[in-house]
Symmetry: C2
Subunit: 178 residues, 2 copies
């Protein structure tokens, strides 16, 4: 059976791609059958857009024993949680917390992308609780063609005022009267 | 193997309990082994609070054949979809569609219960999208003790205005300014 090891990657690493050097300790055997411990550095090329579960196999990098084929060593990509984005396939999702006044009167989203650019997305429509603003091609790169990208989907968590005075209520009734 | 038949019940029937008469057609055998078709009426007592999946077994009400035990006939309670309520265990859930103005300035919920009473629930707090008003003991009766009941949970679907004029926006900004 192959030896499996988790390979935790940040969303930034999976967005841009990166090279990871992993130190492994294993036993190797000489011609006489005597084994000795060695350390090796394996280089793993993380390609842009790789997903959680992607496997990278290093054949026969398990411990050597006389007359036994060493096992394969398999790294399995895992996605570290990100403070801003969650991933949904090739899409990225970000949730912005805004006030009810911002939702109703206009709001400009500002997001720092995984490669460090600042995206500015002005929204002029009324933002309701299920509103989703889709920014094309600002998601994750497609593994098969990293020049193409998924979408960035911006969702909103609208913070309602906890209480309103009777003057505020009267004003809102007047303003929003059908 | 037992013969299974669905027994669709409305939420009203499961709330109040009811008696259902089910006509079945089966074959019965006489002493000589000759079989003949008969129709029978089975009476099923639906108890208040019964849940989807409850089984009522009529032993040996399958077809009779010489030298073979007739199969059991099993009715399985199924819950018909209701236009107003959904059921969650012993709780009932109702979703009210209200305007944003109603959510902010106060709203009185009016619900017709499964036994035909009108419940009036005034809500004075600001209703936000996750707001839930719990009315104790207005849910489904507990099957083991129908004098006790689950809760009625009132949820809200807040309809935002699709567009606002710049005057409305200015007014809202002024009213909801922090």
């Amino acid at each position: 059976a192959a030896i499996e090891r988790r390979l935790p990657c940040s969303l930034e690493e999976l967005y841009k791609g990166t090279t990871k050097k992993m130190k492994i300790s294993r036993e190797i055997a000489d011609a006489s059958g005597k084994t000795m411990p060695v350390e090796e550095i394996l280089t793993i090329e993380i390609k842009p857009g790789w997903k959680k579960g992607t496997k990278i196999t290093f054949p026969e990098k398990g411990n050597e024993r006389p007359n036994v084929m060493p096992a394969d060593l398999v790294f399995i990509v895992d996605e570290k949680p990100h403070s801003v984005f969650t991933r949904d396939g090739n899409d990225l999702i970000v949730t912005q917390k805004i006030s009810l006044a911002e939702a109703l009167t206009g709001y400009t989203v500002s997001v720092t992308t995984l490669d460090g650019r600042t995206l500015t997305v002005p929204i002029n429509s009324v933002i309701h609780p299920e509103y989703e603003e889709v920014v094309p091609r600002e998601g994750m790169p497609l593994p098969k063609d990293p020049s193409k990208k998924g979408n960035l989907r911006i969702k909103f968590n609208i913070k309602f005022p906890t209480r309103l005075s009777s003057e505020q209520k009267a004003g809102i009734k007047r303003l929003l009267a059908p």
